[in-house]
Symmetry: C2
């Protein structure tokens, strides 16, 4: 069997799209390359680059949103703090699945976690003029460092691969000692590696954040999706691990995009620790006349960014939180569909001579989940992305995620069962050619 | 008849809310003061401070949004550029009611005009390192200079009251000569004064923007609401006046909040002139790897701010634009309800010894509309706000809008016909006491 796409065909598409190097392509550009090759050849691609929900939006959310529209919310500016029902259900949801207490007041509605992190960077880098740098525990979501860059704050980072357990503490303290770190950012489970920081590691991060007065921005976009444990029972341990158990300096980013497959309506909540919410900063009082962290976040930053979040969509999110807490919407079991697909895909990759790059949480195998990482001996991640394109498989290089490891990020979200044999066939061909 | 609220009562509420001076209160704080006084006394206030839609959301929008939710858009990230149907209907709407050509590509979806202006400030102040200052033709919407302040760019402004006609040209050129102006901002019709710049004045602004390479951000939140002319017929003159006829350096802010009473869903479009959209800036290419103004605006700034706009809401806005273009949704005639109320209210104020502050567009009386301005001999605007509180009337001082005139901003949007006699009675009492 021939390689499905000739070098000339791929090069022609890259040239037409003005993309010099596919390994430097953004997710969006990679999707475009794959689409062009599909159109040109009539052969469908295996899309591993896309991180969109592959499940329908939760029906309880859609119903609540339509009901709110019928009730006439579309002409009313939403409360910038978030509508009260959402604030209350968010607080309840956090108690039910994260196992911590955050008051409704401190649960703030944002236009997706994208706005959540953008606005949080603006706050964290503004409260203390000496702290102008954001520390990323990488790998991560590439748009977050872009946000920091746009805001012209500074970035520093390291790859967590070599710094697990006690080494993480050492590495972080070495950096935090500099006194310039305003915020510490990571996702847990991790996009792209699906590494899940352990409670021991989270305790180091929390304690150091307190010691050096940095704010932890914990991205919980994939809350509950460490499927090695059963995190599906509201108000029952085990809970989603969180740094919030170890420090008061935290902001949790709770996106609805993946847990409720509600990406389209741009709904999220930022949960600020009650203590941080009410903390007074002279710098904020001086600049904006509002000294409290939480109030400045809402009435200055979020007000100025969008003057609130889709009113009907907030009712959707509130209803989904409530259904999850009531046990009528089991989002953990529903999203475990991604893990089922990932398990099959990993097996296909490994059987054809590939390996999992981020394979362990200390001595335990990482969970199957939404994303996973794949490497191939003899290939850099960049070279692997380019070569897989010829086999009709699109992915992004780990080098675009702040990782120092060689490999690709793959996502199982849009894979169908019918595509598994196709993936297997293409990887077998790759294997026989390598 | 006694003054409805004693000085002690008002002072007590102000103290409780920690507001030293009601004339410095934000719109939101003023609403809060009024609510507290209502609760304490059981007497309803006349709310002139609120600028929310007083009409229901356009039904065609609500229906389209619900249909989109039924079709399953809630799980799909919206295109960051804006969904294609919205881009096309926005372009058509601009042709129909503004009478100019902007390609669908250059019509960009934003989370309300609030995000539209925030993102535009970030662009305008970034393309040329020498241009770091935003020029406001005041009075205006107070959150826009706040946005500039948050972004740490510079602000300069003047009050248009003394600079109409040829004087406007002179004044602007004096400022633009400095070479530091990145953007020129005003709303037309004007919030709060309902001044409408004439075509002559807009031509000065446009020509100077071209001459000194500044970008005009024209806020058309109240598009079509100069009710002295009939702007209600799609694709027929007269059209909404615009600077776009006089320069290629423009970004039009098209909010759906007031024209379609759709404030709750945070839907707007920024229409960039096609020439500016495609203009290449080395500064952008260097910083972000994307040199074209329009693409950097979308793929860097808007992507990083919220990763798009409520997917279902975009279908609502698209449907409303189309209905307006088809002549089945006459938003101009519907919003003229605000002008009807304003006409009655102005008459009541004037009959009781008050006057209109911004009264003329050159030699013509300003239109009745959504907002109007009121002064009283012997009172500063700040003092008038404080005194009217005691008569159960809440408004904001013109001093908070960048105006140098003495008076208040009043809005007719939430007034009911039943409240007119109450307003009359309270103002008569004020008049007899002054």
């Amino acid at each position: 069997m021939n390689i499905p796409f000739s070098k000339d065909t791929v090069d022609g598409v890259l040239k037409r799209l003005d993309i010099a190097d596919p390994s430097k392509a953004t997710i969006r550009q990679m999707a475009r390359i794959a689409e062009e090759l599909e159109t040109e050849s009539g052969q469908p691609f295996i899309h591993l680059e896309i991180g969109s929900p592959g499940l329908p939006a939760q029906a309880v959310g859609v119903a609540a949103q339509k009901k709110a529209l019928d009730a006439g919310v579309a002409n009313k500016y939403p409360n910038i703090m978030g509508i009260q029902p959402l604030k209350e259900s968010a607080s309840r949801f956090i108690k039910a699945f994260v196992g911590i207490d955050v008051a409704p007041e401190s649960c703030i509605s944002t236009v997706g976690s994208m706005m959540g992190t953008f606005a949080s960077f603006m706050m964290c880098c503004r409260v203390n003029p000496k702290k102008d740098t954001v520390l990323f525990i990488n790998p991560g979501f590439s748009v977050q460092p872009l946000q920091v860059k746009i805001l012209r704050y500074k970035v520093c980072d390291f790859d967590v691969y070599n710094y697990r357990g006690a080494k993480l503490k050492e590495k972080m303290e070495e950096i935090l000692k500099g006194g310039n770190i305003a915020a510490i950012v990571y996702s847990n489970p991790n996009n792209p590696s699906w590494v899940c920081l352990t409670d021991e590691e989270l305790s180091y991060i929390g304690e150091l954040a307190t010691k050096y007065d940095a704010i932890v921005m914990e991205d919980l976009a994939y809350l509950g999706m460490d499927f090695r444990k059963d995190l599906s029972h509201p108000f029952e341990a085990p809970y989603q691990p969180t740094v919030a158990r170890y420090t008061d300096n935290y902001m949790l980013m709770l996106s609805s995009s993946k847990i409720f497959s509600y990406a389209g309506e741009r709904q999220a909540v930022v949960a600020i620790s009650d203590k941080l919410f009410h903390r007074h900063y002279d710098t904020l009082a001086e600049e904006f006349g509002i000294g409290e962290f939480g109030n400045a976040f809402v009435y200055v930053i979020l007000y100025a960014l969008s003057s609130g979040v889709s009113h009907s969509g907030q009712y959707a999110l509130s209803a989904m939180y409530d259904a999850a807490c009531d046990g009528t919407l089991d989002f953990v079991t529903e999203t475990s569909e991604y893990a089922r697909r990932t398990k099959i895909m990993k097996e296909i990759f490994v059987r054809n001579g590939f390996h999992i790059v981020y394979d362990k949480d200390l001595d335990e195998n990482v969970s199957d989940g939404f994303f996973f990482t794949i490497g191939r001996k003899g290939y850099t991640g960049d070279a692997l992305v380019a070569e897989l394109l010829r086999y009709g498989i699109s992915a992004i290089s780990l080098s675009t995620t702040g990782s120092r490891q060689e490999g690709i990020r793959a996502c199982s979200s849009v894979m169908t069962d019918a595509q598994f044999p196709v993936l297997d066939e293409r990887l077998a061909l790759f294997n026989s050619n390598n």
